[in-house]
Symmetry: C2
Amino acid sequence: MSSTPWDFGVGKELKMVEDRLQEMTESGEGLLTEASRHVVSAGGKRLRPTIAILAYKSLGGEDTGKIVDIAAGFELIHSATLVHDDINDGGKTRRGRVTVYRKYGLHNAVVVGDFLFVKAFALGGMYDREIVRTTADACAKLAEGEIVQSRFRHTHDLDMDGYLQIMERKTAEPMKAGAVVGAYLAGGTAEEVRCLGAYGLNLGVAFQIIDDVLDFVGDEALTGKPVGTDLKEGYLTLPSLIAMKDSEEVRTAVAKAIDREDATPEEIGRCVKLVVDSGAIDKARAMAEYYAMEALQHLGCLPNTPYSEALRDLVSRVLERDS
Amino acid sequence: MSSTPWDFGVGKELKMVEDRLQEMTESGEGLLTEASRHVVSAGGKRLRPTIAILAYKSLGGEDTGKIVDIAAGFELIHSATLVHDDINDGGKTRRGRVTVYRKYGLHNAVVVGDFLFVKAFALGGMYDREIVRTTADACAKLAEGEIVQSRFRHTHDLDMDGYLQIMERKTAEPMKAGAVVGAYLAGGTAEEVRCLGAYGLNLGVAFQIIDDVLDFVGDEALTGKPVGTDLKEGYLTLPSLIAMKDSEEVRTAVAKAIDREDATPEEIGRCVKLVVDSGAIDKARAMAEYYAMEALQHLGCLPNTPYSEALRDLVSRVLERDS
């Protein structure tokens, strides 16, 4: 299960983020507390807070309290979108736990997501205009990414560009925002803020590609969800897009399955096997490596410190992850 | 249709709020723009912005730009909750239009509500900590009110206290927050902020009671929704609670209908008639008047200006409204 946060020398700060997450999910309404913590406390890698904290530290930021709140805010936004996404996707498990939607029902899942958003705003709104603008822009893009993704759900019309656009908005832009905010709060120069932003964006794309790869070849005991979930839910991702481009046979089979809402588990299983056997997984990994290298390159503008080193390690960890 | 905003001498400011609402609902994704404006541009009384602006003006606030953004923020929050509420209630029409949920589907409705929340945050987050805290607290209470309301849905266990608690959180607290923010931004004293807050809270309760009354005796051509909608959706409100307290016959009939999800339109119609015939409507109106008087009393601490007069008029308008 992906329940242990990564470390990278900022364990103390991440512990403070955890405390903040607990505190912010406390409500007078027991069900709201319980359901919020069901998702927030299910673990996860805390990648968004880690990026923000490392970006801050890498530019010499020393006031831990200053970065912890907004780092927790990014995790709350991420959690809110997970809860609302699962409503839309009908996902059964998340981080190895039953989804809020399945456990507490539609109504409560809508409200729990809203509550988590509000708590993120309560934290984020305490910062200056630049931070609020950056965070709000990333959230608006998230919503736009959701809309585009849903437009292409259960169709085989999506192309590689469209795929990249969706995942940039849904995954990479929020990571970029975390890096930008960290750099900005540390008093980084415009160039440093830009570099760290580009780092976050490219890291985010690499992260998402690996996520999509794990959906084909991951170990359920580690990822917390069965393989083929994306196809089952009607979404084409990089491995299937590559395989469909390379082979007419795969294209026909996957298109047939993805265009309907009632593809059987066996049919999905066959599609997963076709994609895996096509060699698309290695190609997708190669693309993730390309984005990882881009991310690393942007770190060139940083002073050499244990934190810039940790940002580098984070890239390798994202590529090598199995959960 | 309740499509004309009320005026009260702040038409210019309300026009600026409208412009801001249009601007904030603009998205690169056409569907997001369209669905957001479907709810935001459907009219409505703009009561929340009006309260915030009048509170600001009544204490001598002169920088219109300062109050317009947060006033628009409150309307965006209100719109977001309408979109998400309609998902939960299965409501078919809102402000005389098909609900976002019905028109654009579940997935889009979840995202559109999130988008409106985010845009409210983009506006509200530009203000200082006190404003952010006040606004975020009101939003968290909104979510809590939703949870409590849903717990009592389709049960006849709700009592008057429980009802008041729900509607304070869902309707009155946000109006209080608007008044508090307006007073605070105008540089009001702690006492003035407190008074205007109490005004907003009591006005909000009076407003909600009249809303509940109109659900029994309103004209659909004016309210934009058929009578009996609350009962049909499984919610007891003040008129039914009063009637059930007064008569065992009404209690039995309404309890029977409310405890099930499949009460027929005829059964709901009979319950509406029982409640109306019981005299509960006049009693509910009397309670609304009580809260209206409370609201008026709290205005005593304000200097006499056209704006304090407008705040008084607003109370009468809320009591007399038929839409």
